[in-house]
């Protein structure tokens, strides 16, 4: 510290601008969860008022309270169904990850295989699963296997395409460096391409998580119950036939919650894996 500095009072550790910024950050942090909750409360209130003021019968539009009643009253049934749908979804996601990433690695290692098979991967992806599902259940004996197949069909492609992109997005200088040091093809894949592809893979995984739930729901709607118990989608359909609209809403809410849960879990996983090094996970100071 020089002599002239001694005459001045020490600078405050937090100046006005910094304080303002910190306050804005705090407000945003609260608003992030408070605002969506307020919107939900408002929507439920409006919904309730519409039902009450217009005296809409519950078999057309049940009030929020009635839906809540169904959610708690039918919890045992709905929970069992949710477990079944959840299990199919997670299994399909697992197969989609293994199959999608595995195919991506295979394609990356062998160009001829990629040229031969990639068009068919695209065809499988662009054909709506609803249209394929009835056929699948004609030829596949087991309902579980059929449902897994449906869910896998929709979920594997984002994993495949984003992992393929990632495996090809290696820094070209690093690739040269590996060549100079005489890396084998296996070393290059394991130490260079797979880590480079990880952020892309995780992006595809987040999409695949939501899609595997969609696939599972569609498969259930097509498959019906026969033998494997009843999932949430079937509960929705069944409640619809019985004009039990409240239970339809309750089951729908659970499906939505499952989707949100899967997305949040995968986002967390992605954050944990990338937070140390990837740009997407870095918090900027200013």
């Amino acid at each position: 510290m020089s002599v002239t500095d001694l005459d001045r009072p020490p600078a405050p550790t937090v100046d006005a601008e910094e304080a303002r910024r910190a306050r804005a950050r705090r407000i945003e942090k609260t608003a992030r969860w408070l605002l969506p909750l307020l919107v939900m409360a408002l929507m439920i209130w409006v919904w309730d008022r519409i039902v009450v003021w217009n005296e809409i019968p519950h078999f057309i539009l049940p009030s929020p309270a009635r839906v809540w009643g169904s959610l708690t009253g039918d919890w045992a049934i709905l929970w069992d169904s949710a477990l079944l749908t959840g299990r199919i979804t997670l299994m399909a996601l697992a197969i989609a990850v293994v199959g999608g990433a595995g195919l991506a690695i295979l394609f990356n290692q062998n160009r001829m295989v990629e040229l031969s098979l990639y068009p068919y991967a695209v065809i499988l992806q662009v054909t709506p699963v609803v249209a394929i599902a009835p056929l699948i259940f004609i030829y596949v004996e087991s309902k579980t296997v059929g449902m897994l197949l449906c869910a896998w069909l929709v979920a594997f492609f984002p994993v495949l395409s984003s992992t393929t992109l990632g495996l090809n997005s290696v820094d070209h200088n690093l690739r040269d460096l590996f060549r100079i040091y005489g890396a084998t093809r296996w070393q290059r894949l394991w130490m260079l391409q797979l880590p480079s592809a990880l952020p892309y893979f995780l992006g595809g995984l987040k999409i695949a998580g939501g899609l595997s739930l969609i696939g599972a729901v569609v498969a259930e709607l097509v498959a019906g119950t026969g033998g494997v118990g009843t999932g949430l989608a079937f509960r929705i359909q069944e409640a619809g036939y019985r004009l039990n609209i409240a239970r339809m809403f309750a089951a729908l809410a659970i499906v939505a919650a499952m989707g949100v849960f899967i997305f949040a879990a995968l986002s967390l996983l992605s954050h944990m894996l990338l937070r140390k090094w990837h740009e997407s996970a870095i918090k900027r100071e200013h």
Binding site: D171, N173, L174, D176, L177, F178, R179, I180, Y181, G182, A183, Q187, M191, L192, P195, L198, K276, W277, H278, E279, I282
Partner: protein, 260 residues
């Protein structure tokens, strides 16, 4: 500490023998380039962009094959005999500093425990031994470049190729790294081929400057900077330095005229 032999007594390390490189579309990147590299040399390839200096480096590194002519090594080259530093630090962002420096050994199949001391030694050489466990994104541009240099030097290579390594850094950092680079070269006694477009950098660092011209890329002139090492700030302000810079600038001007 390895001693660098006096210039005339140095053994030949490798030779670029009348090499042509033609890229598709009849682009002549290099024409009849010849260069003899001796152990302990510090050679700069100096020239405008498009003069084929990076192409020459890629050919020497074995990343690409000459269209005509040969790259000849005096002895058989082993995996760790060559180190490379690119213009960007080119670190693996998912790996720590120590893991990045470990890479050349890892690719040779060595375990981390066996070469722990070498890694630490290389990091000490570049002054980053306290940052072993940091990730590249936590480091400044100059520090990342130091890690890159440590990685190139960790195997004690015979030859280090550097492709405009300091071009993206600010001048203060560049001067510091220039000083440190000479220091490191003297300590591990390696040979360096250094691509640059800076006259000042090339004069300060090298004992030979190969001036190149563009379209087609070729060698115009070879200058000798017969000034003793170690060189430091004193050299940078000496009249000899200025004279060499003038000579190199003139040679570079000739190269530009030859291309035009």
């Amino acid at each position: 500490m390895a001693q660098i032999a006096p210039f005339d007594a140095r053994a030949e390390l490798m030779r670029v023998n009348a090499v042509d490189k033609v890229f598709p579309g009849d682009v002549q990147a290099l024409r009849a380039m010849s260069l003899t590299v001796r152990e302990g040399d510090f050679i700069s390839l100096l020239g405008p962009s498009g003069c084929g200096k990076s192409t020459a480096l890629r050919l020497i590194a074995g990343l690409s094959e000459p269209t005509a002519g040969r790259i000849e090594w005096a002895k058989d080259r082993a995996q760790g005999d060559l180190g490379v530093v690119f213009q960007e630090p080119t670190l693996m962002p998912w790996a720590t500093v120590a893991q990045n420096v470990f890479l050349p050994f890892r690719l040779e199949g060595k375990t981390c425990g066996a070469v722990k001391d070498d890694i630490l030694e290389a990091l000490k050489l570049v002054g980053l031994d306290k940052f072993q466990n940091a990730y590249p994104r936590e480091l400044s541009g100059g520090m990342k470049m130091r890690v890159s240099i440590a990685r190139a030097m960790v195997t004690q290579p015979k030859l280090i190729l550097m492709d405009e390594p300091f071009a993206a850094l600010d001048e203060i950092t560049r001067f510091k790294l220039n000083n440190d680079l000479l220091d490191m070269q003297a300590r591990i006694g390696c040979t360096v081929i250094f691509v640059t477009h800076s006259v000042f950098e090339s004069v300060f660092l090298s004992d030979r400057i190969v001036v190149m011209a563009a379209r087609p890329g070729r060698v115009i002139e070879e200058l000798h900077v017969d000034e003793p090492y170690p060189r430091g700030e004193m050299f940078r302000t000496s009249p000899e330095y200025v004279a060499h810079c003038r000579a190199a600038s003139q040679a570079l001007e000739h190269a530009m005229e030859a291309a035009a």
